[in-house]
């Protein structure tokens, strides 16, 4: 396997506020190989979308990357000037967001939007661009593409709109696709279609995918590896099968047990008491320790780093000797 396509190291995203600096993403490191789908899962506010936005340079001010590096195929892309990152976004990184209606311009036909994007990023003429747009719409499974290409976004259903957004993201044959909750707004039967499409695209085109979602089911079906985020940090990262079937981090375990499943007859679901801390009150040490059933003394004092344990890496003192200094 060659070098990873995307390498994120020690990423830190901060929001300066009047009452001090909020750290929304805190020391996040991961990499994605070519053709790999990395799932990033976590509850609202865990920092998963901000991580995705930081990678593609779409952090809303005053949010900013305070530390760390983002490398695409070995080149640093964090801190690039606006124009440079804009060229990379679209040309080399495609983005798919949750709500397909806000990702499309209601005043232009989907054909015009795709053609414009193709013309922006590829060196082709108007005719070829339209041909390409047709091809793309066919590829993402829009029936009667030749007719639909001249329709406006409101004439499409939610699932079809999301396909158009995916077609837009694919225009320039990007090496990396960042999909932020791509199926959340869709019905279950449509979800399955979109998931299959994403997986096929990554397999056929060798594109890497960063799939951000709160839905473990989507992760289980789509991702090769998964990173579980909690309070701006990665709690656990590893092959999907290992993390979902034999989670190591107490948070991941709690999360998996809290998901109701058809065929699992339990009277009450396992619940993690409390809630994820807000950004201004993240506790010292391991951010999960106040809610953790297995917390030991070190957990409230020292922050655990990700360390290998089998095929996965986990940030938890349970899997490592406690730090040497004092008890």
């Amino acid at each position: 396997m060659s070098a990873p396509l995307l390498e994120v190291e020690d990423l830190r995203v901060e929001f300066p506020t009047r009452r001090g600096t909020l750290v929304a993403v805190d020391g996040v490191s991961f990499s994605i190989a070519r053709g790999e789908v990395l799932g990033m899962v976590g509850e609202s506010g865990a920092g998963k979308s901000l991580t995705g936005n930081a990678v593609i340079g779409l952090l809303e001010p005053p949010g900013r990357i305070a530390a760390g590096t983002v490398r695409l195929a070995g080149e640093r892309i964090d801190g690039l000037p606006h124009e440079a990152i804009r060229r990379i976004r679209g040309r080399r990184i495609g983005a798919i967001f949750q709500d397909p209606l806000t990702s499309l311009n209601p005043l232009y036909t989907v054909g015009e939007q795709i053609v414009e994007t193709v013309l922006t990023h590829l060196d082709v003429g108007a005719r070829a661009a339209r041909r390409r747009a047709l091809e793309l719409l066919g590829e993402v499974g829009i029936p009667a593409a030749a007719e639909r290409i001249d329709h406006y976004p409101h004439q499409f259903s939610g699932g079809m709109r999301q396909r158009v957004v995916i077609a837009l993201a694919l225009c320039a044959e990007p090496e990396l696709i960042i999909a932020d909750e791509p199926t959340t707004a869709l019905d279950v039967s449509i979800q399955a279609q979109i998931i299959r499409l994403l997986r096929r695209l990554s397999a056929e085109r060798g594109a890497s995918v960063l799939l951000i979602t709160h839905d473990m089911g989507v992760i289980a079906e789509t991702a090769d590896r998964v990173a579980v985020m909690y309070a701006g940090r990665i709690a656990e990262i590893g092959p999907v099968r290992d993390v979902l079937k034999a989670p190591l981090h107490p948070y991941t375990r709690g999360l998996m047990d809290a998901i109701p499943a058809v065929g699992r007859d339990v009277d009450s679901l396992a619940q993690i008491d409390g809630a994820m801390p807000r950004l201004h009150e993240i506790p010292a040490g391991c951010a999960f320790h106040p809610r953790c059933p297995s917390a030991v003394a070190a957990c409230g004092r020292d922050r655990p780093d990700l360390a290998p344990s089998g095929a996965t890496e986990v940030a938890c003192w349970l899997y490592r000797p406690e730090p040497a200094h004092g008890r």
Binding site: S157, V188, A192, V240, R241, L244, M256, P260, S268
Partner: protein, 333 residues
């Protein structure tokens, strides 16, 4: 578990007129446009059970719920509560008293609480509105008791909704619903906006309250795993009609209607047994112009000429009720 029916819904129909304004219709010659949100739905809910309506967006499940609690008037059909007709023209005068025993919990805990009211006023509102308690002191005591009941603290009553997380807000909604001393609670996607760990807390709370207070739930959801977990009987809706109705074990253990089978196939497999879920082609058609015959026929692999023309009725089939010609004819196991 089963008792006498608390709620009976019979041939419920609810249409929405979404026609362009009269002038446009006259000038452009455009016709009327009617959304057939609920098109002939019937079921009964026994005292103490949790009855679930499940389906994709636009299938009419929320409209059924809102019609039952009186937020919409039915276009046709009957809704009986403890045997008394409560909807439409035939409704009796004592309906208000009956309605008092019904409460609703909504999906979005951000939109369903008045941001300008303190939590104590929000929770106390049903008590004051229905004059359930004589004086302010007893209302305050009751509100404090309710907040504790749903896992909050009495001092939370002084706060405003924005000071709470989504899960805590849903607890406030539940406390407000309980304040009316209901026996029947309609829950419209109560956990859909919540994270899974919070969802588990709310589902556990709802089950516990049901046991303690003998509540009856109508539970609306699109999440089959949640429905499996919480309900005793399930009706699957598609385009304003019920296509299958059975107790939870039967429905999930042996789904009969092709649409139910399709829905169950779309559940993501967390066990990762390597099963590749088969995506169904097509999408839910518009309820403005639903397909003829069986509404599911354009997406159904078993559809034949009869399915395209004749609308199937709910008929008993091995412990379940199924509206499907193929099942009835034995073309489909």
């Amino acid at each position: 578990m089963a008792g006498d029916p608390l709620v009976e819904v019979d041939g419920l129909v609810r249409y929405f007129d979404v026609s362009p304004p009269l002038l446009n219709r006259a000038v452009e010659g455009a016709g009327r446009r009617i959304v057939r949100a609920v098109d002939g739905v019937g079921f009964s809910i026994a005292r103490g059970e949790t009855f679930a309506l499940v389906g994709e967006s636009g299938c009419g499940k929320s409209t059924v719920a809102r019609t039952i609690v009186g937020l919409h008037a039915p276009t046709a059909g009957a809704i009986r509560y403890r045997g008394t007709e409560i909807a439409g023209r035939s409704a009796g005068a004592d309906v208000a008293a009956l309605r008092q025993r019904m409460q609703m919990i909504f999906q979005d805990p951000y939109a369903s609480l008045n941001p300008r009211w303190r939590v104590r006023d929000i929770v106390g509102e049903p008590i004051r509105h229905n004059s359930l308690l004589p004086d302010r002191a007893s209302v305050a005591a009751r509100v404090a008791e309710l907040l504790v009941r749903v896992g909050l603290s009495p001092v939370d009553g002084e706060k405003y909704p924005h000071e709470f997380s989504g899960g805590q807000r849903q607890r406030i909604s539940i406390a407000r619903a309980l304040a009316g001393e209901p026996e029947f609670v309609v829950c419209d996607e109560p956990t859909s906006a919540l994270d899974v760990s919070v969802q588990a807390q709310i589902l556990n709370l709802m089950k516990e309250l049901q046991r303690a207070l003998g509540l009856t739930y109508l539970f609306i959801s699109h999440d089959l795993a949640v429905v499996y977990h919480i309900s005793s009987r399930v009706a699957v809706m598609y385009l304003g009609r019920i296509c299958e109705l059975a107790d939870t074990e039967t429905l999930f253990g042996r789904p009969r209607h092709p649409y139910t089978r399709m829905l169950l196939d779309t559940i993501p497999d967390l066990e990762m047994g390597g099963r590749d879920r088969e995506p169904v082609a097509g999408e839910v058609p518009s309820p403005i112009n639903p397909p003829s015959g069986c509404a599911f026929h354009p997406r159904c692999p078993y559809a034949d000429a009869r399915c395209r023309t004749e609308r199937p009725e709910l008929k008993p089939a091995g412990g379940a009720s199924v509206a499907c010609h193929a099942v009835e004819e034995g073309r489909l196991g």
